[in-house]
């Protein structure tokens, strides 16, 4: 009797314990269903609603909250929040040259466990390379970029100037002459879209043979204040001051162009779909990125990548979203619905040749952009101190634009950047 009782108790214990074991064994599956909250810091002009809705439908347990930040504050906010180590945001939007900087600080989780080499083959190789730091993929490419000269044909023709065609490439000297001819009253001839950003202005000194940083990725003295740089930024200063063909105000160049008050600007291909949608009231075209008459042809490149915060709580879930967004079906959705940028996915770039709308102007200009992206693109300097480099140069360019002496200003900038680079040595 006693034995039966013991067996009975043992059996009862076993039965009550079984669900526990079952739960334990199935924990791998059940974690899929555990609610996951992911935060994502994005630029204010991106619209993530479509991709978030699509992903949440595929993964009902995942909630993605996108927080929009303006361009001017984005880089500082991103950096301060990553530096805090609090794990927010989970999904990190990274402008290409900052990959090394964030990588050196250990802020980004390697993605190689989630993103296969087959996934990587879907992106243009240059973008994969630049998202890789110390042999690990830290940032998955979403966009690539190039720059084109946007031209108001009506304004140029009104002064008897033949506008350039989509495959023409003007020299800076020709751009300046045309800009001088059309500048009168409240109409200005030319501007750069990101007129104090190294991204946009780097082709000026590089076209003249200048270099942006030493081999070690840390030395700037003798590079950013070299004679080529001083010559390039004397031209830049003159465009705003001596010739007065460029507006000094803060109105974005693309807005001024769209309102017919700016004849030409160098800007990104994202403007093509914008201007097409706005149906501008004048005839416009794009042409290739300008260069100095005695210099080389160089174009800007690089764009946004997405990565995973190494301090985040649900790094695997975040990495899976990043994979879906950049290499999976999210990439096409993002590009067609949410962003006007050039995609870094080869299949999407190739689709430019088959999308019906892209076969006639103005949307056919996207094909010009895709072609220009392959013409001697010069990436921004690879340095762990890119944020310092970028921001201190931005202050210097802004001073030169307001009339400061280029040599003195670049000398000061070189000193300040050198001082900040010490911590990476």
């Amino acid at each position: 009797m006693k034995r039966i009782l013991t067996l009975g108790i043992a059996a009862a214990l076993l039965i009550t314990a079984l669900p526990l074991f079952a739960n334990g064994a199935g924990s791998g599956e059940s974690s899929e269903e555990k609610p996951v909250n992911l935060t994502w810091l994005i630029l204010e002009f991106w619209n993530p609603d479509t991709v978030i809705a699509a992903y949440q439908e595929l993964h009902p347990n995942v909630t993605i909250e996108a927080e929009k930040v303006g361009w001017g504050d984005f880089f500082q906010q991103n950096q301060i929040r990553l530096m805090s180590g609090e794990g927010d945001p989970d999904i990190v939007s990274i402008d290409l040259p900052l990959v090394a900087s964030y990588g050196a600080r250990g802020w980004l989780e390697p993605l190689d466990d989630v993103i296969s080499s087959e996934d990587k083959s879907r992106w243009i190789p240059a973008a994969v390379e630049s998202g890789t730091y110390n042999g690990a993929l830290l940032a998955a490419p979403q966009h690539t970029s190039t720059q084109l000269l946007f031209v108001n044909k009506d304004l140029l023709e009104s002064k008897g100037i033949t506008p350039p065609g989509t495959d023409d490439r003007l020299t800076w000297e020709e751009v300046l002459a045309a800009a001088q001819a059309v500048s009168e009253g409240d109409i200005r001839g030319f501007n750069w879209e990101q007129n104090t950003a190294i991204y946009q202005l780097q082709p000026l000194p590089v076209s003249l043979g200048g270099k942006c940083i030493g081999e070690d990725g840390l030395t700037v003295e003798g590079f950013i204040n070299s004679p080529e740089w001083i010559e390039a930024f004397t031209f830049y200063k003159d465009v705003y001051n001596k010739y007065g063909v460029a507006p000094k105000g803060d109105t974005p160049a693309a807005d001024l162009f769209a309102s017919g008050k700016l004849a030409m600007f160098v800007g990104g291909p994202w403007n093509i779909r914008r201007f097409a949608a706005e149906a501008l009231l004048f005839d416009w075209t794009v042409s290739r990125h300008p260069y100095f008459e005695q210099g080389e042809i160089v174009t800007p490149t690089g764009s946004w990548h997405f990565g995973v915060n190494a301090a985040g709580e649900d790094k695997k879930a975040a990495a899976e979203f990043v994979r879906w967004l950049t290499a999976g079906e999210g990439a096409g959705l993002w590009w067609s619905k949410d962003s006007y940028d050039m995609p870094a996915q080869i299949a999407l770039l190739e689709s430019f040749n088959t999308i019906e709308d892209f076969q006639k102007p103005p949307l056919s200009f996207m094909k010009v952009a895709a072609a220009e992206a392959r013409v001697n693109p010069v990436p921004r300097p690879v340095t762990p101190g890119f944020l310092e480099y970028d921001q201190l140069l931005q202050a210097a360019f802004s001073d030169i634009r307001n009339g400061a002496d280029p040599k003195k200003t670049l000398d000061t900038a070189a000193g300040r950047i050198s001082s900040e680079m010490n911590k990476y040595r």
Partner: protein, 286 residues
């Protein structure tokens, strides 16, 4: 301990404790941080370098230019703000009809968040902003204000005074009102002239209020940060790059906490020296 000392010490203990926790302890932490440097080449490791950050700063022209900008700002802004605050308080002390309405109106700049007022002023001083519109209507040339090396610091002084003058005038007004009316009445009977009344009665009796305003305003202006961040970002050509902003940029943006703490420590020494001199000036004569 004497029994009648226990009660006062107990009463000030909570305040003292908070002061240690929120003022003294962070200073110690800052001093500690200023003796280290972060090496990202070694995976963000903190390395003890003793006075290294201070030696580095001593040889750094940008640091010195930020000290000069800070001192220049204070030499202009402090006397200006206190003088204007005194005049404003004297006006607000008048017994005229509707004085309470005026007192309320002058408090508006204090009540608006400094972030909001900085942004509004930035828009007003823009090349196409309200101020240039008024100048244009008056037939005057437009001014670059925040974009000019010669005008940016003055513009920041103007905006910080717009907020600071009414704020400090509150304390001075309280000082005015604490002077017993009988003193003035007695002086009037003795036939005291108006300047004599100001210099022999009002100012001496206001000494404590003025000393507080001078010291508090000096400290506030040495630590001024928000308007610079929102209006100029330290530019153009470093003309508004005050020390506090330079420390913020190096520490919070570029991750160089050692040098940033070094700047804050040097700034602290500077403030202690200046405030010490001011306290000597206002010391009670025995």
């Amino acid at each position: 301990m004497n029994k009648d000392k226990i009660v006062p010490y107990t009463l000030i203990a909570p305040a003292l404790l908070l002061l240690i926790l929120y003022r003294f302890w962070p200073t110690v932490l800052g001093l500690h941080e200023s003796l280290f440097t972060t090496s990202f080449a070694q995976g963000g490791k903190k390395i003890f370098i003793g006075p290294g950050n201070f030696i580095h700063l001593w040889n750094d022209p940008v640091f010195w230019s930020s000290v000069i900008a800070t001192v220049l700002f204070n030499v202009i802004a402090n006397p200006l703000q206190i003088f204007l605050a005194y005049i404003l308080a004297a006006l607000l002390n008048r017994k005229v009809k509707g004085i309470n309405l005026f007192r309320g109106l002058f408090l508006i700049p204090v009540a608006i968040s400094i972030n909001v007022s900085s942004i509004i002023w930035k828009l007003m001083l823009d090349s196409g902003g309200l101020v240039n519109g008024i100048l244009d209507r008056m037939g005057l040339a437009p001014q670059p204000f925040l974009l000019s090396v010669d005008q940016a610091l003055w513009s920041v002084i103007w905006i910080s005074s717009w907020i600071g003058v009414p704020f400090w005038s509150l304390f001075i007004l309280a000082g005015f009102q604490s002077i017993p009316r009988q003193v003035y009445e007695a002086a009037a009977i003795d036939g005291v002239s108006s300047p004599q009344r100001t210099f022999r009665i009002t100012l001496p009796l206001m000494k404590n209020s003025l000393a507080f305003v001078l010291i508090a305003d000096t400290v506030a202006n040495f630590l001024l940060f928000t308007p610079v961040l929102l209006l100029t970002g330290g530019g153009p050509e470093l003309s508004t790059n005050v020390a506090m902003f330079e420390a913020y940029r190096r520490g919070m943006i570029y991750g160089d906490l050692g040098t940033a703490s070094g700047i804050v420590m040097m700034l602290l020494c500077l403030i202690i020296i200046v405030v010490g001199l001011q306290s000597l000036l206002f010391r009670e004569k025995k």
